[in-house]
């Protein structure tokens, strides 16, 4: 534990949601971290959880019994060394951590999936099937005159979104907070989160989120001047939708935003795709962009690293025939439920509550120091942005933020643990007995 006097830092990035706001002021005092500025509930919760283990301490364990880090690494290596079908799940870590996970998966022929894939693949399917026209946070801040929230209120997931991206008066082209309109389609939890500083409320066109695909298709028809049957779609009066279509065409820089975890229904990717096709078609008239939002637990970081290292996003197995990507069959939950994994290596360093799915197979967890979990080997690791520097990707994918190390309370890095395991599995000079299959 450090014995330094309390230390203040500014412009500290926060790792607890996809916005990665980097304007925090933070003090560290004997390992205790505290936000001095602002009241974002997610940031506060994340920082609070980061202090939880300080009293009791956090140490590695094997079968529930305290062990040294070295012993735990050796035990983890023993589990992975025996496994024929290891699953690398959770993947709640930062860029160096994910590099470590990928290297270990590659060395053991493992399957890699992130705990948020059920949500992310709603976007990935669209990316793989038709692509999209999208924008990023700073552009929204300076240009967006109409924001359509598709199945979300945004703020419930990304608390500071409106404050940082919409309710700003000092912008490049003279657009102020009151020059912008917000419309919510679907089932926003709390539409009032989008009330402007001047009191203007978001308009809500309510329907069940499951019906948003039909609504987006209807909007497409209205934009192209094609017929729509009846006088309501999913309960929304057709006249209201027609008005929205006109507003989208008239907007200078319309933005259609969604949060995949709010579109929590089967086939949500089709609804997202229809919304993206609507956006694409609006670009024949004006500028319109999608804005995929979300992100927790290092999900988009895992996606980026896995993609550049293998060519495929997560739900990929590093098999003897090269990387195999299968969004359906390599879903970690399905793999575990069908008994197709004989070892689970779970990483989850942002949130002590994100523990692995229950089940009987040898399990190694690299977890948040306050995590309590029943597993064969537990190693507490540093929390990105608190104990550990290393990069995270923002929700709009174009910005990788350098996180900061705010304290040193002796928690190891994920990448050091994976390196330690690899050193045991592949002692220097001996390659592992992998078949030389050069498919290319």
């Amino acid at each position: 534990m450090s014995h330094h006097p309390p230390e203040s830092r500014h412009e500290v990035p926060c790792s607890f949601c996809g916005l990665l706001c980097d304007d925090l002021s933070v003090t560290t005092d004997h390992g205790r971290v505290r936000i001095e500025s602002g009241n974002c509930p997610r940031a506060l919760a994340g920082f609070d959880a980061a202090n939880r283990h300080l009293e009791a301490g956090a140490s590695p364990s094997i079968g529930g019994k305290t062990a040294t880090l070295e012993e735990a690494v050796a035990a983890a290596a023993a589990i992975l060394g025996k496994a024929q079908a290891p699953l690398f799940g959770g993947c709640g870590t930062h860029l160096p951590g994910m590099r470590g996970v990928m290297e270990l998966a590659d060395a053991t022929g493992g399957t890699v999936d992130h705990m948020n894939s059920y949500s992310m693949f709603r976007n990935f399917h669209v990316l793989q099937n038709s692509g999209w026209v999208v924008t990023s946070l700073s552009e929204v801040r300076n240009r967006a005159d109409l924001l359509v929230c598709f199945g979300t209120d945004i703020g419930s997931r990304l608390p500071r979104f409106y404050e940082r991206c919409l309710w700003v008066d000092d912008t490049l082209f003279g657009l102020g907070a009151e020059d912008r309109e917000v419309v919510m389609l679907g089932q926003p939890k709390d539409p009032l989160l989008a009330t402007s500083p001047g009191g203007r409320k978001a308009e809500v066109l309510a329907c069940r989120n499951e019906q948003l695909g039909e609504v987006a298709q209807a909007l497409r028809a209205l934009v192209r001047g094609a017929p729509v049957s009846g006088d309501a779609v999913a309960g929304i009066p057709l006249a209201d939708l027609a008005r929205l279509a006109e507003r989208l065409k008239a907007a200078k820089y319309g933005v259609v935003a969604w949060v995949t975890s709010d579109l929590d229904f089967d086939h949500a990717e089709l609804a997202i795709q229809s919304a993206c096709d609507l956006v694409r078609e609006l670009n024949a008239h004006t500028r319109c962009n999608g804005l995929p939002l979300g992100g927790t637990d290092g999900d988009y970081t895992a996606h980026q690293v896995c993609t550049w290292q293998t060519g495929f996003t997560v739900r990929t197995r590093l098999s003897a025939a090269g990387p195999q990507h299968d969004p359906v069959a390599l879903d970690a939950e399905r793999v575990l439920a069908e008994g197709r994994a004989d070892a689970l290596f779970w990483v989850s360093s942002f949130d002590p509550g994100k523990t692995p799915p229950a089940g009987k197979r040898p399990t190694v967890v690299l977890g948040h120091p306050a995590m309590r979990v029943d597993c064969d080997v537990f190693i507490p690791v540093g929390i990105p942005g608190i104990d550990s520097a290393g990069h995270l990707f923002r929700t709009d994918s174009s910005v990788a933020v350098p996180m900061r190390q705010l304290r040193d309370v002796g928690l190891p890095e994920v990448a050091d643990v994976t390196a330690g395991i690899l050193a045991i599995l592949r002692p220097a000079g001996n390659g592992q007995a992998k078949q030389e299959v050069r498919a290319c």
């Binding site: 412009e11 990035p13 980097d22 304007d23 860029l95 590099r99 290297e103 590659d106 060395a107 990935f124 990316l127 793989q128 099937n129 038709s130 692509g131 999209w132 026209v133 999208v134 924008t135 990023s136 946070l137 700073s138 801040r141 300076n142 240009r143 991206c165 000092d170 082209f173 820089y253 004006t286 500028r287 996606h303 980026q304 993609t307 550049w308 290292q309 293998t310 060519g311 495929f312 590093l318 098999s319 025939a321 090269g322 990387p323 990069h391 990707f393 994918s397 174009s398 910005v399 990788a400 933020v401 350098p402 390659g431 592992q432 078949q435 030389e436 299959v437 050069r438 498919a439 290319c440």
Partner: protein
């Protein structure tokens, strides 16, 4: 450890050496003088009868950054036919149009390339570019930072600030995005597209800011010259892909007013509007200008037939091209008041008139530009074709009868509109060595690469001569990277991690008084978290070294 490469026929244009048999000595990763007689040689390679060149350098290849990764994520079907399993030496990956990072490094090295440069690095996305390049083994890398549609530059120009302020901003950007040079993509056009403008000609005023692409080109070229950055402004010009853009390109050359500049993937900017289909070759005009004006260099951006993906910062052009996407999907992005990107898969078909003529135009350009020091071999990977097609391209340039055989197979209308059939020139090995080694090193200011003189880094490629030039260049016998043998006969034998090359031009730190408020007021990231430190660079790349090159070539103020 002293390594001796014995008796190979050295082709080293930087030292006017053309096929002279000589020994090369390597120690500690460098080429050294011949040792005292009787000195102990630890390892010797018998290269008698073989050809020796420096490792090749690709000065324009999209190997790292957001748009490259978007291409990968979008195209699982591109990867499936070309999967690479992990071995003792190599990580898993995949190849073809959007290869994974490890595979990219292995394949470049197998082909005798020892350096590659990402040409379109958005400053806001620079970390990702460096991370991806950091996971690209063996080859050295670097990147050019993109400016020209970023709102800060356009604001400064609108405000009519002094050139020195621009220079400081440019130098600051290059330094803190850890770049090797500066690129401008569709100057002002990426910004214009965000305002719903669909084209921006050279002398057209950009929306809101009122500056013209001509002014942007001139200003940025001047900045690099004043800063003494070795590589001149790297220009992806206006109107990419638009029939008639040859005139835009010629006018853009002239706009520089004698300042040095490098025009990239010039093939895509060399289209006339003659003939029934209003699409013709402008290569002869371009070549004439390049021949006449020594301040201009170009890389061709050759297209080759087959499936690939176009990935570019030019969201305006890519949005226009998205209608021709094949398969029919695309990603267009507006990014962070910085730039944009567009990813559009594409299939070039030899039966298609336009594609066939594009193929001719690229080759005409190679054959009509006289000076191999100022024309570079690129396919703008992957926009024209994947980089693994370079050996095929080299064969087209060196073997006239092979070239004419291919010409006979393409769309006949296109072939009829091209002068390619009458161009007899065949590139010599010496000229290929210039174009792929000596010249890229020179234009980038890499003093210790691209040649085989004493003091050079031991990046060395050894070929067995073969009349089939494609076969010859596809699988060099030996590839050395900083003195370590990394590939033999087209297969990796050892993996090392290459270096990152940057320049750090001087600037007045007072420029941060302009930049910091801009970030704070208008962007969603603080300036302090935008700047990339040298320590970060080491983390990016498996502990590989950062090489800082001098800015001395030009005049400083």
């Amino acid at each position: 450890m002293l390594i001796k490469l014995t008796g190979g026929k050295v082709i080293d244009p930087a030292h006017n050496v053309d096929g002279v048999a000589r020994d090369i000595y390597i120690r500690d990763g460098r080429i050294v003088d011949a040792p005292e007689p009787g000195a102990k040689v630890d390892q010797e390679y018998d290269l008698r009868g073989k050809l020796v060149m420096a490792g090749a350098i690709d000065l324009h290849t999209h190997i790292g950054g957001g748009k490259v990764n978007i291409a990968r994520a979008m195209l699982p079907e591109d990867h499936r036919p070309d999967l690479c399993a992990a071995t003792d030496l190599e990580r898993s990956g995949c190849g073809h149009a959007a290869p994974s990072t490890f595979t990219t490094g292995y394949r470049y090295a197998e082909m005798g390339y020892t350096a590659g440069f990402e040409p379109a690095m958005m400053p806001v996305n620079a970390r990702q570019a460096h991370m991806e390049m950091g996971d690209t083994p063996i080859i050295d890398k670097g990147a050019y930072a993109m400016l020209g549609s970023d709102d800060l530059l356009l604001s400064l120009m609108k405000d009519g600030v002094d050139q020195r302020v621009i220079n400081d901003y440019v130098a600051w950007t290059i330094t803190h995005s850890q770049a090797m040079g500066l690129k401008v993509v569709n100057p002002g056009g990426i910004s214009a597209f965000k305002f719903n403008q669909r084209k921006l000609d050279l002398d057209e005023q950009a929306p809101f800011y009122g500056v013209t692409p001509r002014q942007i080109l001139k200003t940025l070229a001047q900045a690099l010259h004043d800063l003494g950055v070795p590589h001149p402004l790297h220009v992806h010009g206006c109107n990419l892909g638009v029939p008639g853009n040859v005139q835009t390109t010629l006018d853009s050359f002239a706009a520089l007013d004698g300042l040095p500049a490098h025009f990239t993937h010039i093939q895509f900017h060399s289209y006339g509007t003659e003939g029934d289909r209003k699409f013709s070759s402008g290569a002869a005009h371009i070549a004439e200008m390049v021949n006449k004006h020594k301040n201009i260099s170009v890389d061709v951006g050759q297209i080759l037939f087959g499936q690939t993906v176009t990935a570019s910062g030019d969201n305006m052009s890519q949005h226009r091209n998205a209608a021709h996407a094949d398969p029919s999907k695309s990603v267009i992005m507006d990014i962070e008041c910085d730039a944009g990107c567009g990813v559009v898969p594409f299939r070039y078909r030899d039966t298609n008139f336009v594609n066939a003529l594009q193929w001719c135009i690229g080759l005409e350009t190679f054959l009509l530009v006289d000076d191999p020091w100022r024309v570079f071999l690129t396919t703008d990977h992957p926009n024209g074709a994947p980089f693994t097609s370079y050996p095929h391209l080299i064969r087209l340039l060196m073997d006239k009868s092979f070239r004419n055989e291919q010409l006979a197979r393409i769309n006949t209308d296109a072939a009829g509109l091209s002068t390619l059939g009458s161009l007899d020139r065949e590139y010599s090995l010496y000229e290929i060595a210039i174009m792929t080694r000596a010249a890229p090193a020179k234009t980038l200011g890499l003093r210790d690469r691209g040649h085989l003189g004493v003091g050079a880094a031991a990046d060395i490629t050894v070929y067995t001569e073969d009349a089939d030039r494609e076969k010859m260049f596809a699988k060099p016998n030996y590839v050395f990277k900083d003195g370590t043998l990394v590939a033999r006969d087209g297969r990796i034998v050892q993996v090392v991690w290459g270096n990152t090359h940057v320049v750090k031009p001087e600037y007045d730190p007072g420029i941060e008084k302009v930049i910091e408020p801009h970030f704070r007021r208008f962007r969603t990231q603080r300036m302090g978290n935008f700047k990339i430190s040298n320590d970060e660079m080491c983390e990016c790349g498996h502990g590989s070294k950062l090489h800082v090159h001098d800015c001395t070539h030009g005049r400083k103020q």
